[in-house]
Symmetry: C2
Subunit: 285 residues, 2 copies
């Protein structure tokens, strides 16, 4: 690829650029973003060759554009770039939810819709920003593509190839499947972890409680230190699937409460044993 | 101390013995347990000097006895040792719950009750057994004593000193306070973690779900790989406080569900922000 453009040069966008560079897959990387300081930092870190000045002028000859902004900003951004996209320019994204990104694309990309192949890289962590970007972030990680019916096979393969060049294992789902899977294995656990810390944070004896919290609490609540804004957006974007998960989980807690109330030790052990078995098998995969 | 006896030579009991030895605080450590193989292993690892054969004959001249068996076995064990205890012999324990251990002691230790100073060392982890024991397990860890009104000041100070010799920071609470604190910061998170994995384990698409689970899920569910038997016992022992925590947590989830249902992004952010703030401050302590 001669030219790749990154919108949002943080952990996800910056690492994508570094990985493509390291693979020798791109000649020039241009970055756009809301913070001049971040863009300048990214240039100094060798993530970007140039800081873009004029979206309309830059996007026409780009081979690939990565949208790595918060999901909430993507619709507006798509509307801005759509009129100027070259016919060969492909777009992908790094959003953690997919139904909403696809809806934004359908609303904002107009006749360029087929050039957009939605993606969710399963990578990240507590650290964020261009300074945290690394060339091997996607190495061995999963990337889920949620292709549109409008995507050509060639477009899909090119975008798949770009993520594979970053070291990722790429799979495909529908946007609905994607959002349901991640509501269960990612969004729900984040919500539950935030909820526990918030629950304790409101107590009169919160300092005493926290002073006796140990390693189990530490691991359970690590994700409660995640970005409130990012997780607000993810939860709102995927609220349907997440509410359904939350209801199912509440039913699970009801069963546990019933077991405690009726002194049903065998039921508790049955639940804990299946959980332990499945969790241990997962670790060994 | 000339002689220390450990009942239950696993991670907790074995590490207590190793730590007292390392501190030069004990001449002889004798161990009892249900598994001859474990006891033999503990002897070979230098945890024990001798494997005890006859409880009645051994306990009379012991300076300190640690009960490090599962809590469910303590009442029977206390009944067995009570008639043979020397007048100077002190007892402590390593149980994770305290109201039930204190109740067992009141029921089973008879006129030796004052010699028992209940303790909960906040240490452990996924590994268990004598093979996992280490002399520095308690170094810098917290130990909570829940003294009885019957304990003499001298008995309490001796037991406190023994745990301090292991490197622990010792504090005191009532058994009720203890069980309420640990219901909130330890027992509830374990229950919630087991519940999430059990919830997903019952799904038709469980393999697909687990294949996309990442580091957030890994940390949140690490404690779901804990011993089902041990956690069944802890939850049953502390069911009153745990049910109360579970109800409070369910109310918290209800608030989150309401926020999602009514599209109240600000409410979500408010909850996540307080959680993040408190969790981050806790890490930096």
């Amino acid at each position: 690829m001669k030219k790749v453009i990154i919108f949002g040069v943080g952990l996800i966008g910056g690492s994508f650029a570094l990985a493509l560079r390291k693979a020798g897959a791109v000649s020039e990387v241009v970055g756009f973003g809301r913070s001049t300081a971040t863009l300048e930092q990214a240039r100094q870190l060798g993530i970007l060759d140039r800081i873009g000045q004029d979206v309309a002028a830059e996007v026409g000859d780009a081979d690939l554009i990565l949208l790595a902004t918060p999901v909430g900003q993507m619709a507006e951004l798509m509307g801005r770039i759509a009129p100027h996209l070259g016919t060969h320019t492909l777009i992908t994204d790094g959003g953690s939810t997919k139904c909403d990104v696809v809806a934004a694309a359908r609303a904002s990309l107009g006749n360029k819709l087929a050039q957009f192949v939605p993606a969710h890289p399963i990578a990240g962590g507590e650290k964020s920003g261009a300074g945290a970007a690394q060339a091997d972030l996607y190495q061995g990680k999963k990337v889920v593509l949620t292709p549109l019916a409008e995507n050509s096979k060639a477009s899909m393969e090119s975008v798949r190839r770009a993520w594979e060049l970053c070291g990722a294992a790429v799979s495909e789902m529908t946007p609905q499947q994607h959002d349901e899977v991640f509501a269960a294995v990612s969004h729900l656990p984040h919500l539950l972890s935030f909820a526990l810390v918030h629950d304790l944070a409101q107590r009169d004896n919160r300092d005493q409680l926290l002073s006796f919290a140990a390693s189990g609490f530490r691991d359970f609540t690590r994700i409660a230190a995640s970005s409130p804004e990012m997780w607000r957006d993810i939860c709102m974007s995927n609220r349907g699937a997440l509410m359904s998960e939350l209801q199912q989980y509440a039913a699970e807690l009801y069963v546990l409460h019933q077991a405690l109330e009726s002194n049903d030790a065998a039921k508790l052990e049955e639940i804990f044993s299946l959980a332990r078995e499945v969790r241990s098998a997962w670790t060994q995969q």
